[in-house]
Amino acid sequence: MIGTADYLTLSALLFIIGVIGVAVRRNTIVVFMCIELMLNAVNLSFVALSRQLGNLDGQIAVFFVMVVAAAEAAVGLAIILSVFRAVQSVETSDSSELRG
């Protein structure tokens, strides 16, 4: 029988893979996709705990996470586009002109 702990374990593993991706990769779009991966991992643990606790508030929270992720995708990709226009690159190390 699959319990809540198994779902939460999978969620933690997916989350930490996303964190490693954000820390290691230089491509801004890949970093963005790793953030989406982390959001998905959190969604999985929301749904698993909603099932465990027997109420649906967790699933409503997942719905709002999806809304915020959609808004984040639109704005984030627009920022990536406009940075690409300015520096002709999506590498994080190439857009470091604001560093003091």
């Binding site: 809304v67 808004a71 586009l81 300015a86 999506v90």
Partner: protein, 175 residues
């Protein structure tokens, strides 16, 4: 059911590793789509039917199409492999191991007793469209409307950010 969960979990972890490790951004994107579809299978297994559908439509459909569109628009190819700095690698590995041991050990102990208790499916907590829609339009009406304002602001922000500004950066001045 058990073997189904383990197959889906293994494939989801492999797809997540593919997102991080593949050299081409487009391959990462396809791995992420596979990961999202597998997670929607898990949602369906957890009786969250509405979220399983929304995961496919909103995440794998809308958001990832937007990402693919941007990758194609910028015509990104693989980046050259730069070695990860040793200090960063050590730091990331240590924090990953620390996070996992902090999370997993108490998880295993706490939920080992809880897992057997609720074995049958409670029909009251099936997340179908009718139940979630009723909750959204009664108990969560204000956050729902606020989310629509957030989406509107995101649309306006995306248009403003991505619009070409003819006078902001004259082409000869930069670089």
């Amino acid at each position: 059911m058990t073997i189904f969960f383990y197959i889906v979990a293994l494939l989801a972890i492999l797809a997540a590793v593919g997102v991080v490790a593949s050299p081409q951004p487009l391959y990462s994107c396809f791995c992420l789509i596979v990961n999202m579809l597998l997670l929607s299978l898990l949602f369906a297994g957890l009786e969250a039917h509405f979220l399983a559908a929304a995961q496919v439509i909103v995440y794998a459909g809308a958001i990832m199409v937007l990402v693919v569109f941007v990758i194609m628009l910028l015509s990104l190819h693989g980046e050259e492999r730069k070695p990860i700095p040793t200090l960063l690698g050590i730091f990331v590995a240590l924090s990953a191991i620390g996070f996992l041991s902090l999370i997993l050990h108490p998880l295993r102990q706490e939920f080992a007793s809880l897992a057997g208790r609720r074995s049958g499916v409670d029909p009251a907590i099936v997340g179908d469209v009718r139940t979630l829609g009723t909750m959204l339009y009664t108990q969560y009406l204000f956050p729902f409307e606020a989310a629509s304002v957030l989406l509107l602001a995101a649309i306006v922000g995306a248009v403003v950010l991505a619009k070409k500004k003819p006078h902001a950066f004259p082409p000869g001045e930069r670089k």
